[in-house]
């Protein structure tokens, strides 16, 4: 038997040496690895550690109206994600079944393209195939996936990522108030922008980390959903308002010029006792679901010619909220502020009588009344009722510049109301300041020469009629969290006391006379049948003067004794041959209020005449509080020229020494009543001052009075302006020769 001999022992030793050598090489190599690359590899290990941190989207809060209807909400949607690597894993056993199922269950996806991409990019793990699909679109696939799991041929490589999509169920309703969102969570305009932070929640995150046991632990920090805001808007009132704006816009479309029924129409409905805005609308409306679509306003060719800048400008004009973003001269609607100030300061007692000769010379300018022929002697109440500029100028002179200015500020003109909407314009440079002259005071007394926004005038009126409490106007009454608990109650906030209760009572009486005294007042056409209403008309001449472009408006409130609702209607350049007629605004007010008041459960207190009864019955048929119908209407119209008024009138403030505007309310039937012109009554105040030319005219029903006489041109039989000697058109009472600003 052979033994393991010495040779073999030697060779075994050699083998052992080889093995030892190999081990030493390995050990040295280990050392070299950590010496040369240890630090780099250490970093690499941490760098490639994906802690798989994925953001989780939050749900933006809803916007609800005061009755709980959702005006805006965010809906959960899904992005379809392709994991090409997973799809082709396990020798492609998922590939065909998954793509096949995808094709069957979500037909909108282009499976051929997905196949191509997956094959071309086998290592891609994240590709968005489709964005924002609603849950019911992807449900069939999820069902099929569940089914496939049971049959042991699982699907793999497609998953769904949660996201949210902003929905506006009413389309264009309250578009200017709501604003819209971009990228789902960034609000633009209106409530969406103002309450952006409140509506937005905090994004969540799903991430992994290594815990104490060195185990990878997956954590989900859930997204915090945004808070919901409860608006003071009432969807039904808003619908009524928008429906009537649209109706007006369509009725007067292309009447005097190409385009919609007015350059712009704004309406605000408020609760005067709280400052809550019940409805706010302006034309043109736009579809919140598709705010960048200009198809309703511009033709395809026009759009093709616009560059991006122009398109954005066009969009901005459409998105603007006329009610807070545009300024204009308020005209005669400002008169009650002047009278209230004079009463409050004791400058007048309220029983004074002034003689209106149709014009007043101030600072070298003749300032006309709307009724250039003059109305003769008028009380202060009649001055308001007939909207007499001469009376108001006299009241303002009695008050004096400083005090007038003080009240102008007190009623917040020139200051922001700080309404909770994005885009309120700062009009502080568009009002009179300490340097105002006598002429400025004269025109300012009847609302020309300084600019306001609609919300300023509406809020000011609330304080005029509610006993002097100036509430901050607001759109949101409550903020609630996603669980439904109240986070914040936004109570009505009194900012200041503007006038006393007794002055407020007197103002209400005067404003009642404008509407309620038969056909005497300028605003009688605004009264909804069966209700008592107070109000004031305004017909402001726009800059440049003499072009006969007007802003007509009407503020009304119901009922007179205990105002529950206030409406303010402003029509900028109505599309009619003769714009200076406040009845466009009063009739629109009447249409709106006739529907709104019964809805608000405000009961009729006055007896109805037979004609009113018939009218109401006819209207009843048209009443549609149906928001579906409204949605259709509001998306139809708005024409090409429907751009909202920019702040052109802005120049009026600085440049008002050159020209100022007129106001005055018209009454159609005043023209032919004529008496003799007086010798341009009134104290002839010729105050120099900074203010230069300005005149004002006053509208008015002619009241025959003893001292009031009108002369007629012997050739034409037309009346002659007692102040300038110009022959006037009997219809319009404006000079035939042209011009006809309230100021010469």
């Amino acid at each position: 038997m052979t033994r393991f001999n010495t040779d073999m022992q030697k060779k075994l030793m050699v083998l052992a040496m080889f093995i030892l050598l190999a081990f030493m090489i390995l050990a040295v190599n280990l050392y070299l690895i950590i010496r040369d690359n240890g630090e780099a590899y250490k970093k690499q290990v941490y760098a490639q550690r994906s802690y798989a941190s994925t953001p989780l989207p939050f749900k933006r809060g809803d916007i609800e109206d005061r009755k709980g209807s959702k005006l805006a909400y965010s809906e959960k949607v899904y992005n379809v994600i392709l994991d090409s690597k997973l799809l082709q894993s396990d020798e492609g056993k998922y590939f065909e079944p998954t793509l096949e199922t995808l094709k069957e269950t979500i037909p909108s996806l282009d499976t051929a393209e997905i196949r191509q991409f997956a094959l071309a990019n086998p290592s891609s793990q994240y590709r968005v195939l489709a964005k924002k699909l609603p849950a019911d679109t992807i449900q069939p696939y999820l069902d099929a996936q569940e089914e496939a799991k049971k049959e042991k041929t699982p699907l793999n490589g497609i998953w769904f990522e949660e996201d949210y999509k902003r929905e506006y169920p009413y389309g264009s309703l309250a578009c200017d108030v709501l604003g819209f969102t971009q990228g789902e969570n960034c609000g633009y305009f209106g409530l969406e922008e103002y309450y952006n932070d409140v509506l937005n929640g905090t994004g969540g995150r799903s991430y992994s980390y290594i815990n104490e046991d060195s185990m990878m632990e997956k954590k989900i920090k859930a997204a915090g959903d945004g808070n919901t805001i409860i608006s003071t808007i009432d969807t039904n009132i808003q619908s009524i308002v928008e429906k009537n704006i649209l109706k007006f816009s369509e009725e007067h479309r292309n009447e005097a010029r190409e385009g919609a029924g007015a350059k712009n129409i704004g309406v605000i409905i408020m609760d005067p006792n709280t400052g809550e805005v019940l409805a706010m609308a302006s034309s043109p409306a736009f579809n919140l679901q598709d705010p960048r679509n200009l198809d309703a306003y511009y033709s395809a060719e026009e759009q093709a010619q616009m560059d991006d800048e122009e398109k954005l400008q066009a969009c901005n004009l459409i998105w603007r909220n006329f009610c807070i973003s545009d300024t204009y001269e308020p005209g005669s609607t400002a008169k009650p502020f002047t009278v209230a100030a004079a009463l409050e300061e004791g400058a007048i007692k309220g029983d004074e009588t002034y003689n209106c000769g149709g014009a007043l010379d101030v600072g070298g300018h003749t300032i006309h009344c709307h009724n250039r022929l003059g109305d003769g002697p008028l009380t202060v109440t009649q001055g308001i009722q007939k909207s007499c500029n001469v009376v108001l100028m006299n009241v303002a002179f009695a008050l004096g510049r400083e005090k007038w200015l003080k009240y102008n500020r007190l009623f917040n003109f020139g200051l922001k109301t700080n309404i909770d909407l994005a885009g309120e314009v700062n009009a502080s440079l568009l009002v009179f300041n300490e340097g105002m002259g006598q002429t400025d005071l004269a025109v300012g007394s009847f609302g020309q020469g300084f600019n306001t926004t609609m919300i300023q005038v509406a809020s000011g009126y609330c304080s005029l009629i509610n006993g002097g409490y100036y509430y901050r106007p607001h759109m949101v009454s409550k903020i609630v969290n996603p669980e439904g608990a109240t986070v914040q109650d936004i109570e009505p906030r009194v900012m200041k006391q503007t006038i006393s209760n007794s002055t407020s009572d007197k103002i209400r009486e005067m404003l009642k006379a404008v509407v309620m005294e038969g056909t005497e007042g300028t605003g009688y056409t605004a009264r909804p049948a069966g209700y008592t209403m107070g109000g004031k008309t305004g017909t402001a001449e726009k800059v440049p003067r003499n072009k006969r472009n007007y802003v007509v408006s009407f503020v009304g409130f119901v009922p007179v004794d205990n105002p529950q609702v206030l409406s303010y209607v402003v029509i900028d350049e109505p599309n009619v041959p003769k714009q200076d007629q406040a009845r466009f605004a009063t009739l629109l007010t009447k249409d709106i209020m006739t529907e709104v008041l019964p809805y608000m459960n405000i009961f009729m207190t006055e007896e109805l005449s037979d004609t009113e009864r018939e009218e109401l019955a006819a209207m009843q048929a048209d009443f549609s509080l149906n928001t579906d119908a409204l949605r259709v209407i509001s998306q139809v119209a708005v024409d090409e020229n429907g751009e909202p008024v920019e702040g052109e009138e802005g120049e009026g403030a600085e440049g008002e020494d050159a020209d100022a505007s007129t106001s005055g309310d018209t009454q159609e039937d005043t023209a032919d009543t004529a008496g003799d012109a007086t010798e341009g009554g009134a104290p002839s105040l010729s105050v120099g001052g900074a203010g230069v030319l300005d005149g004002a005219e006053e509208d008015g029903v002619t009241d025959e009075s003893i001292t009031h006489q009108i002369n007629y041109d012997p050739e034409t039989g037309y009346p002659i302006d007692p102040n300038t000697g110009e022959v006037l058109d009997p219809e319009t009472l404006l000079p035939i020769e042209g011009g006809g600003s309230f100021m010469d």
């Binding site: 033994r3 393991f4 190999a22 950590i34 590899y41 990878m216």
Partner: protein
């Protein structure tokens, strides 16, 4: 058996226990995700270790000469087992590789049995030629080597498992090297092998041959520059290097590997040495290597003192087997040689490999127990 070298079972059991701990550390995270049970692999491995110890004990009791005597008869059943990986009801294909057969819910790799059978058979055939006095002649060497190569080739071609085939061939080569007095043939074989390897490397580097179509060539190309294919073949190698490098000298501490968390796939298998280095540093790695060296040293002593040639050669065969697997495994994880799937003896996860390795140790113990101290 008074003469049994107890150092050998002591080190072996220690390595197995250490391996079990490392398997728990390396696999618990992935196992938790896959099976919901962090101890899934370690529980199975504990059973394997116990079976290996039992196998080792039983084999130590059996006289090793019995195995040598009947060695040729181990060939047919081994070939059948190898064939079963391709045909018949027991084949068990994992990841496209035909390396397993599965009987009664238990799968195992015939290659591991082939290795032990190759050792025994090679020892038998050398002894056979020794008896005839031919072993030291060229014809004898050629015959022995040819038989080894045929065995290895069958293993390679049928199971597509080149690393096992290489180990079988390597064991044969080592045994022959010890037996033959001559050096020149081995220098020739070594020279040819080196020349072939260098030629292949040169050809791949200069683009004379393209690795397309052959994953082995691709692996060799990746070995030359693992970063060039960091997301493909180079991924495993690079990540293993990152593990070792980031562990530094003293490591991150037991259980603190980061790479095991989904980066190194199946870290409890072939790549476990990189996790050992990451957690225990190269200090830990070298300690393990020293334990292996100590174990090989005890084998060396047994081989030097075995009562007969068969006992010595059997021990040398086992010694070569353990040494080859350890060296190849560590060389792969440190990218010294191209990536090939060789497990770390006693430490890597896997039932067949550890049980048959235990059996081999048992045979060495059987040899050592028959040493007659003079």
């Amino acid at each position: 058996m008074p003469g049994v070298d107890l150092n050998i079972p002591a080190v072996t059991v220690f390595l197995m226990a250490f391996g079990t701990i490392m398997i728990y550390s390396a696999s618990s995270y992935e196992s938790m995700i896959e099976n919901g049970n962090p101890a899934f692999y370690v529980n199975k491995q504990i059973v394997h270790v116990l079976m290996a110890i039992v196998a080792m004990y039983i084999m130590s009791l059996v006289n090793y000469r019995f195995w040598i005597k009947w060695a040729p008869w181990s060939i047919p059943p081994c070939l059948i087992l190898v064939a079963l990986t391709r045909i018949g009801p027991f084949k068990y294909v994992v990841n496209g590789a035909h390396r397993w057969i599965r009987i009664a819910g238990r799968s195992f790799q015939p290659a591991e049995i082939v290795k032990i059978s190759a050792i025994v058979f090679t020892v038998w055939i050398i002894c056979y030629h020794m008896e005839k006095g031919e072993a030291d002649k060229l014809s004898g060497i050629a015959k022995i080597m040819a038989l080894c190569c045929v065995y290895a080739l069958i293993l390679w071609q049928v199971t597509d498992n080149m690393s096992s085939a290489m180990i079988v061939g390597g064991i044969g080569l080592c045994l022959l090297f010890v037996v033959c007095r001559s050096y020149k043939w081995f220098m020739l074989i070594g020279g040819c092998g080196s020349a072939f390897a260098l030629g292949l490397i040169y050809a791949l580097k200069t683009g004379l041959i393209s690795p397309s179509g052959s994953f082995r060539l691709a692996r060799i190309k990746t070995w030359l520059d693992p970063a060039a294919d960091a997301k493909g073949y180079g991924f495993q190698t690079l990540q293993s290097l990152y593990s070792i490098g980031s562990g530094g000298v003293w490591g991150k501490g037991l259980g603190n590997s980061i790479q095991k968390m989904g980066i190194i796939p199946e870290a409890q298998n072939d790549m476990i040495f990189s996790i050992i280095c990451e957690e225990l540093g190269i200090f830990g790695g070298i300690v393990i290597m020293c334990l292996f060296i100590f174990l090989l040293y005890r084998f060396f002593l047994v081989a030097q003192n075995a009562p007969d040639l068969a006992g010595s050669l059997l021990t040398v065969g086992v010694l070569s087997h353990v040494a080859l697997q350890v060296i190849i495994n560590i060389a792969v994880v440190t990218n010294l040689i191209p990536n090939t799937g060789v497990t770390m003896p006693f430490i890597s996860y896997g039932g067949t490999s550890i049980i048959f390795m235990g059996a081999e140790i048992g045979m060495v113990l059987s040899v050592s127990g028959r040493i007659v101290l003079e």
